[in-house]
């Protein structure tokens, strides 16, 4: 499956979203069709932001007058180099550079960004009409999570503010969130989101293997597999369905074939909760637990998570997949600040 997907479009403003230059007071007019493009991308779950050399307040007021201000996350409207703005947006959204498409009408800006971030996708604004037909911007499914993705990130923004204003150790902040994580067998209506998770997740993804809806549907109903999906919520609202795991239950052992956790929740200390749950269940079933890990070049965090949790090399498959094993003699506890609910 093609994993080359764009998660965020970063727009310039002057002569890109609108015709004219804001600070020259020339009568601004939206480019024809741009409003529909922005709203359609939003419905598809593509995030959008802004990198514009402009006066922040004036630009936001102009966007507001067009009814478009709410569509952009972490807008960078200032006089910094655009490569710096892109880096800020990338950091705030915690996505990788090659998942960003930057659109500007000035070749100089496109080159400047490209010279610093070689993996960013760039497009000249004159080509904007092709955007909605660009395969990189057409997800295979529009899931419940993708349609509300912008809201999920907005809620995250509120959490970050609350965290920045919080004085004290991070556990105390995490405890103040009243987090609840629900672990449940994946239902049929979870499968589109499950497929999407296998395509979109990079850092905490044990194998990087993308699974199709059909494969997941078969595995979900298979007698000797467990397909688990997790949802996280806190006092700000839901984070959506953010984790997935596939366990193959053999006669002699349990084998974790796939395990992933959305990058949005990495700093919540919940990455290990699902792993802990599976360790507990394998232990209860009296089976040793193996786990597959395949180095994708971007999932070292998952490798470290497995190994710090006590997994050790067992053998390597011919295709290079490392198979790790945990002796289950000591299983970590769930973090005290999170309420874990396991549904059967």
């Amino acid at each position: 499956m093609n994993k080359q997907t764009i998660k965020c479009v970063v727009w310039d403003l002057d002569n890109t979203i609108w015709d004219g230059v804001l600070l020259e007071n020339s009568g601004l007019k939206l480019k024809p069709g741009i409003e529909d493009i922005i709203k359609t991308l939003d419905r598809r779950g593509i995030l959008q932001s802004i990198s514009s050399k402009n006066d922040h307040d004036a630009a936001m007021a102009a966007l507001k007058s067009f009814g478009l201000d709410e569509y952009f996350l972490y807008p960078e409207i200032n006089w910094n180099a655009k490569s710096y703005s892109l880096a800020q947006i990338q950091k705030n959204l915690n996505i990788s550079m090659d998942a960003i498409l930057f659109i500007d009408d000035q070749e100089y800006e496109l080159q400047e960004v490209k010279s610093v971030h070689s993996s960013v996708h760039c497009m000249n604004a004159c080509e904007y009409r092709s955007l909605l037909d660009d395969p990189r911007l057409i997800p295979r499914f529009i899931t419940e999570d993708s349609a509300m993705r912008r809201m999920l990130y907005k809620t995250d923004q509120l959490r970050k503010q609350a965290e920045a204003e919080f004085n004290g150790p991070s556990e105390a902040f995490l405890a103040s969130l009243n987090m609840r994580m629900i672990i449940a067998p994946a239902d049929e209506h979870d499968l589109q989101r499950a497929e999407e998770l296998t395509v979109r997740t990079n850092q905490l993804n044990a194998t990087g293997k993308a699974y199709s809806y059909e494969e997941l549907d078969r595995l979900r109903q298979s007698e000797d597999h467990q397909l688990l999906i997790t949802e996280l919520e806190d006092r700000f609202g839901t984070y959506g369905k953010i984790g997935l795991a596939l366990v193959h239950m053999n006669e002699t052992c349990w084998r974790l074939k796939m395990m992933l956790m959305s990058c949005r929740v990495v700093s919540r200390g919940v990455g290990t909760v699902l792993l802990t749950h599976i360790m507990q269940e394998a232990h209860r079933a009296g089976k040793p637990l193996l786990a597959d890990f395949r180095d994708t070049g971007r999932n070292r965090m998952m490798n470290i998570t497995f190994r710090f949790a006590g997994f050790r090399d067992k053998f390597t498959e011919p295709d290079g997949t490392m198979v790790l094993e945990h002796d289950l003699r000591s299983i970590p506890q769930f973090p005290p600040y999170i309420d874990v609910v396991v549904q059967q």
């Binding site: 991070s170 700093s267 200390g269 990455g271 290990t272 965090m301 470290i304 710090f308 090399d313």
Partner: protein
């Protein structure tokens, strides 16, 4: 290079471990003192690699090597000695 000092500073700054005057010793397991997430684990490994110019191999990604200042100093020293040797 004073490994110990640099490591202590990194831990202190990243885990807000000495807030309100609380101290931690070089034998304290900060993975137990503080709830530590995958992001911190990753940052710690990358910090050690970049700061001391070493590569941490898979079989060295053992929590025991990373969970106290003393263990981490010992690990880095052994790595550097092996390289120099």
């Amino acid at each position: 290079m004073d490994y110990r000092h640099v490591i202590r500073e990194f831990i202190r700054d990243n885990l807000s471990i000495e807030h309100e005057g609380a101290a931690f010793s070089d034998d304290d397991n900060y993975f137990e003192l503080r709830f530590v997430n995958s992001l911190f684990a990753m940052k710690l490994v990358q910090f050690v690699e970049q700061q001391f110019g070493i590569v941490v191999e898979n079989d060295e990604l053992d929590l025991n090597n990373f969970c106290t200042v003393n263990n981490l100093v010992k690990f880095v020293e052994a790595k550097k000695a092996k390289e120099a040797g």
